[in-house]
């Protein structure tokens, strides 16, 4: 890939990044352009992936005379009838297959991973009671108490009053710790993306990329100043005319 193409890439990348960040100032046409481009590019990305799936799992087997793949292909094609109101009911065949398969898969997966494994994980540490230190015993008891309290908080068949209310209130604290931890993790993930974008902008501000970041940034700022100035003048004129 030639150096010119890479420089063009740097300019596009820096431009799109700044366009999207410009929303932090206010909604503007550059942000909307980048937003729509993202929608299109995202669909393009998934389109090439799913096109590959159809090529690998439908087209290639058909060339090897494996006709059974016609069945899921027809179920899939039935979904497209959504656009033809008269026969849109045909799309139910495709959807019901997805629902049936998904439901059948969700039951054992949900039971094994989210139910049995979680209960097992809470109880299992107590199997090694003799080998536990005071700290690990404390942790295991705390976790077991926490799980029970949270479950009681979500148990609505009993009225939450008296002792039940007290226990469910303890459950809220465990939930708050989880929500706080989840929030903290989300913030850190978003910020790491932010650092990544700033790092890219810094890279593209170099001489080898013809100062892409600075040029685009100055152009954007100039646009906002001029736009603000012109719209204010227009608003003043309209006010005077009125």
């Amino acid at each position: 890939m030639s150096h010119t193409v890479l420089i063009a890439g740097a300019w596009i990348s820096a431009g799109l990044t700044i366009f999207l960040f410009s929303f932090l100032y206010k909604d503007n046409p550059f942000f909307k352009i980048a937003e729509h481009l993202y929608l299109g590019a995202g669909m393009g990305w998934w389109c090439q992936i799913y096109f590959g799936v159809l090529q690998e799992k439908v087209w290639t087997p058909l060339t090897h005379h494996e006709w059974l793949v016609l069945l899921p292909a027809l179920l899939g094609l039935s979904l497209i009838t959504q656009f033809i109101p008269k026969i849109s009911w045909l799309s139910r065949y495709g959807f019901t297959f997805l629902m049936g398969y998904g439901s059948g898969l969700a039951i054992p997966a949900g039971l094994a991973t989210d139910f049995i494994n979680q209960i097992g994980g809470t109880i299992q540490p107590f199997a090694n009671l003799a080998g536990m230190t005071a700290f690990t015993l404390f942790n295991s008891v705390l976790m077991a108490v926490g799980v029970i309290c949270v479950l009681i908080y979500f148990f609505f068949s009993l009225e939450h009053k008296g002792a039940i209310k007290k226990v469910s209130n303890v459950g809220i604290y465990f939930l708050m710790i989880y929500f706080g931890a989840a929030f903290g993790n989300t913030v850190m993930a978003r910020f790491s993306l932010l650092y990544g974008r700033f790092d890219s902008l810094y890279t593209f501000s170099g001489k080898q990329y013809l100062y892409a970041t600075q040029v685009i940034l100055i152009a954007m700022v100039t646009y906002f100043i001029l736009h603000g100035f012109l719209t204010r003048n227009k608003a003043d004129q309209d006010e005077e005319a009125a």
Binding site: H36, L75, L79, A106, F154
Partner: protein, 222 residues
């Protein structure tokens, strides 16, 4: 008509649901093969479902352009973005790299899709901070607990947090990453487990309702 419009679709849900469910509990080669085949089928049907969404999106935006509706010019960029990925993907036959060299597809991913995707989510960082400011106004002990857990997680992952911890609580002999580790592995897990157990019960019940045709809203209206 009721047979082909309602009964057969419900039978499809029941048959595929029960068979998929049984394969998990029947340790036999046939059930493994069946599950593998169903997985392939699901991939195929999902691919078509994606194209359903794609056609719908294109239809909405092309209608907007043809009617010159408000902001129709932006709709053109949906198609530009789509072509900006699809054409390089076609040229590069879906490969990002050709040896050590970037293909056109890799170029489009690195310089178009990745900046758009990463920046879109990075912008959320600012909104998260502003939301945090509003929601972290500590009005109760529970809100305080949430705040403390979040602060430990945030500060525990940056050098600044370690410096603050060392200055204020260094005498304890623990470092902040150990505290974060403890929060993540003990009290946070307790909260998470309670939620996961609740979700799994809800998911299993909903799945059973779908398989037995009690829940059929997804079929739409006649």
């Amino acid at each position: 008509m009721k047979l082909i419009k309602k009964t057969i679709p419900l039978a499809i849900v029941f048959v595929f649901g029960i068979l998929t469910l049984l394969t998990y509990y029947v340790p036999h080669k046939h059930s493994v093969d069946f599950l593998e085949t169903m997985n392939k089928w699901e991939n195929i049907v999902t691919a078509f479902a994606f194209f359903l969404g794609l056609i719908s999106l294109f239809y909405a935006h092309s209608t907007k352009i043809s009617r010159k509706a408000d902001g129709w010019g932006y709709s053109l960029f949906v198609f530009v973005g789509f072509l900006a990925i699809i054409i390089p993907a076609y040229i590069s036959k879906g490969k990002n790299m050709n040896g050590a060299e970037l293909t056109w597809m890799g170029w489009a991913f690195q310089y178009i899709y990745n900046p758009l995707s990463a920046t879109m989510f990075a912008v959320l960082a600012f909104y998260i901070v502003s939301t945090a400011y509003k929601s972290f106004r500590i009005k109760s002990l529970q809100a305080f607990v949430l705040f403390v857990a979040a602060m430990f997680l945030i500060l525990g992952n940056v050098p600044l947090g370690q410096i603050i911890w060392d200055k204020m609580l260094g005498w304890t002999g623990y470092n902040i990453s150990q505290v974060v580790d403890w929060i993540m592995h003990v009290p946070a897990v307790a909260g998470k487990r309670g939620i996961m157990i609740g979700i799994s019960i809800g998911a299993v019940v909903t799945a059973l309702k779908i398989i037995f045709g009690i829940e059929r809203q997804y079929l739409g209206k006649d």
